[in-house]
């Protein structure tokens, strides 16, 4: 029953370009929400399930994005080759940085991730020869059409890319789901609850945390590649400290430690401001207040609220 509902929603989303062909703006917003939800899933695995509050998450999305940009534009590599390479690069960078950051805990961990986030952002901003510097990296291509046998799909037009973004999100979501259900995920949740105890029970917590940092960074990098391919331009500002903090905001508002949390968070973060386009400063004020209220009164985020609301309805 639940499965059927999910399948129906997914089918509807895939069919949307055909239904809403006159609504490219809607497709654009949903695609963008997907592209924010992917790094948010990466952060949810770290923050929501393992309890690692990284304040430099988007820097790894940036590593993926710029790696792919350079590979596609300068090395003339195909998107389909650049995507896995960039994802792995972001993951490797996450592993290296994570193994330093994870020597620290709580506040110290946050500050050290913030420090690395700043450093990586400065590299993107300052390394003119490779990243094209602060002015941004224009001319990043959309993926080339894919043809398997008789079936072919092109990703240049909005509708085509929309399906790719959706597929990317589903892949990231499926990975998250697999992680959470696995024994590996069990250890992560144990670490979140009581890291010391998990260690005495026999978990090599450092290894698990580093792995999850690398994994989260790889997911962020994967999202970053799709993001710049969607925008067809990369800009260091998209991977700044402020964006990393916004990512934390997305995960918390959506519901940290819930499978659907990052999706809800990204949708709220992207779609609501688009809806409120008029009131600009005010909408950021509202987001700030919402974040404070959620930490105070609904630490489970919107996903948690929905779940408990649903339980109440069913009762």
């Amino acid at each position: 029953m639940k499965l059927a509902a999910v399948a129906a929603v997914i089918a509807f989303l895939y069919a949307l370009p055909a239904v809403a062909s006159g609504q490219p703006y809607v497709l654009h917003i949903i695609a963008l929400s997907c592209l924010y939800a992917i790094p948010a899933i990466g952060l949810n695995v770290m923050l929501g399930y393992t309890g690692l509050v990284s304040l430099g998450h988007m820097a790894f999305a940036g590593i993926g994005a710029y790696t792919a940009a350079v590979l596609m534009v300068d090395a003339k590599l195909s998107f389909w080759l650049a995507l896995p390479i960039a994802t792995i690069t972001a993951g490797a960078a996450g592993f290296a940085v994570g193994s330093i950051c994870l020597r620290f805990r709580t506040h110290y961990f946050m500050i050290v991730t913030l420090a690395f986030g700043l450093l990586l952002h400065q590299v993107m901003n300052n390394w003119d020869e490779v990243t094209r510097g602060a002015a941004g990296f224009p001319g990043i291509p959309r993926p080339a059409p894919l043809a398997i046998g008789d079936w072919s799909h092109s990703f240049g037009p909005l509708a085509g890319f929309y399906r790719l973004a959706l597929t990317g999100l589903l892949a990231a979501f499926a990975l998250q789901w697999a992680i959470v259900r696995s024994d590996f995920g069990k250890v992560l949740v144990a670490i979140r609850q009581d890291e010391k105890l998990a260690g005495f029970k026999g978990a090599n917590t450092m290894l698990y945390k580093t792995t999850v940092f690398a994994l989260g960074s790889a997911i962020a990098g994967f999202g970053g590649v799709l993001f710049v391919s969607f925008l067809r331009a990369a800009s260091p500002d998209a991977f700044s400290l402020a964006e990393s903090i916004n990512m934390v905001l997305i995960v918390i508002i959506g519901g940290a430690g819930y499978l659907a949390g990052p999706l809800i968070g990204a949708l709220v973060y992207i779609a609501v401001p688009e809806y409120l386009r008029a009131a600009n400063e005010l909408r950021l004020v509202l987001f700030g207040v919402l974040l404070v209220l959620i930490t105070l009164f609904a630490p489970q985020g919107l996903a948690g609220l929905l779940q408990s609301g649903w339980k109440r309805v069913r009762r």
Partner: protein, 291 residues
């Protein structure tokens, strides 16, 4: 030693003393309540704006405006402590996240009220230039440094000699023990928060005339203040003072040796290295909040 080395040290000490005010406020809160308040930077900004408002609309006296803005911010601090930080006590993660939310809310409220453009705060009395040999300094900068050091001295005296100061130090060592010996921990928390936000306001009000008053003016002092208290060892007041000065000097000196577009990272990488070598910071006794 490259040319200009000494001068850079002086530059660094000056900026370091500005960072100090922010660092002190943060370290007091951290020590007593174990809260890392990321919103401290925007409170600094609000302090500057309130001071500007009081100076131009209410009183013509800069000194009075500074003191009043400290009062206003102290009240705001108490309100925040009561509404946000007290309910989240003991939950580090939520406190940090709530303070990130406060940054968004407060900074954009400032933009909403005062607009995105910078305001100027001119205090004619402190505009002149003081020459020290070949070097020239703006008088207001010397005022800032003088006031900062006076405040630091007063704070130390206060913490060491008064009953309330002793209560603060006791609470920061162990809240439970403080409760046992009859210290009203709740009141100490409230007072510490008020003191800390008043210090933030003082920083903003002092810095406004030297530079400009603008919505993101608190970001830099926040980041540097944060760096300072980590370097000094979280929770150590003398550590914060030294940490702020070290950060200021390291930053200024880094311009002699490193490309300036990596200046911010240089400061932070120094901190990461120090932490790897000495996890408790320069003056910290031990890490708190480990488990």
């Amino acid at each position: 030693m490259p040319e200009g080395f000494l001068e850079q040290v002086i530059n660094g000490l000056m900026m370091g003393s500005v960072y100090m005010l922010v660092a002190l406020g943060m370290v007091l809160i951290y020590g007593v309540m174990h809260v890392l308040n990321f919103a401290h930077g925007v409170l600094f900004t609000v302090g500057a704006y309130v001071c500007h408002l009081l100076l131009t609309r209410v009183t013509g006296s800069y000194a009075l405006a500074v003191v009043l803005s400290m009062g206003v911010l102290a009240v705001l601090g108490i309100a925040l402590e009561h509404a946000v930080f007290r309910p989240l006590r003991g939950n580090l993660r939520s406190q940090v996240i709530a303070s990130l939310g406060l940054i968004l809310a407060i900074e954009n409220t400032v933009v909403w009220i005062w607009g995105p453009n910078a305001l100027q705060m001119r205090i004619p009395a402190t505009q002149s230039i003081v020459a020290l040999g070949e070097l020239h300094f703006n008088l207001h900068l010397l005022v800032v440094i003088g006031v900062t050091f006076a405040v630091v001295a007063m704070l130390f005296l206060f913490l060491k000699t008064t009953k309330l100061g002793t209560a603060i130090r006791a609470t920061s060592q162990s809240a439970e023990a403080a409760l046992v010996v009859g210290i009203p921990v709740e009141s100490v928390h409230r007072f510490t928060f008020a003191l800390s936000t008043a210090l933030a306001a003082l920083g903003g009000a002092l810095l406004g005339p030297l530079f400009l008053v603008f919505p993101t003016m608190g970001d830099e002092p926040l980041v540097k203040g944060l760096a300072a208290i980590i370097l000094g060892g979280m929770g150590s007041v003398p550590g914060a003072v030294i940490g702020a000065l070290v950060i200021g000097v390291a930053e200024a000196l880094s311009t002699l040796y490193f490309p300036t577009d990596y200046r911010d990272s240089v400061a932070f990488m120094v901190i990461v290295l120090v932490l790897i070598a000495r996890p408790q910071g320069l003056f910290g006794v031990r890490m708190r909040g480990e488990d």
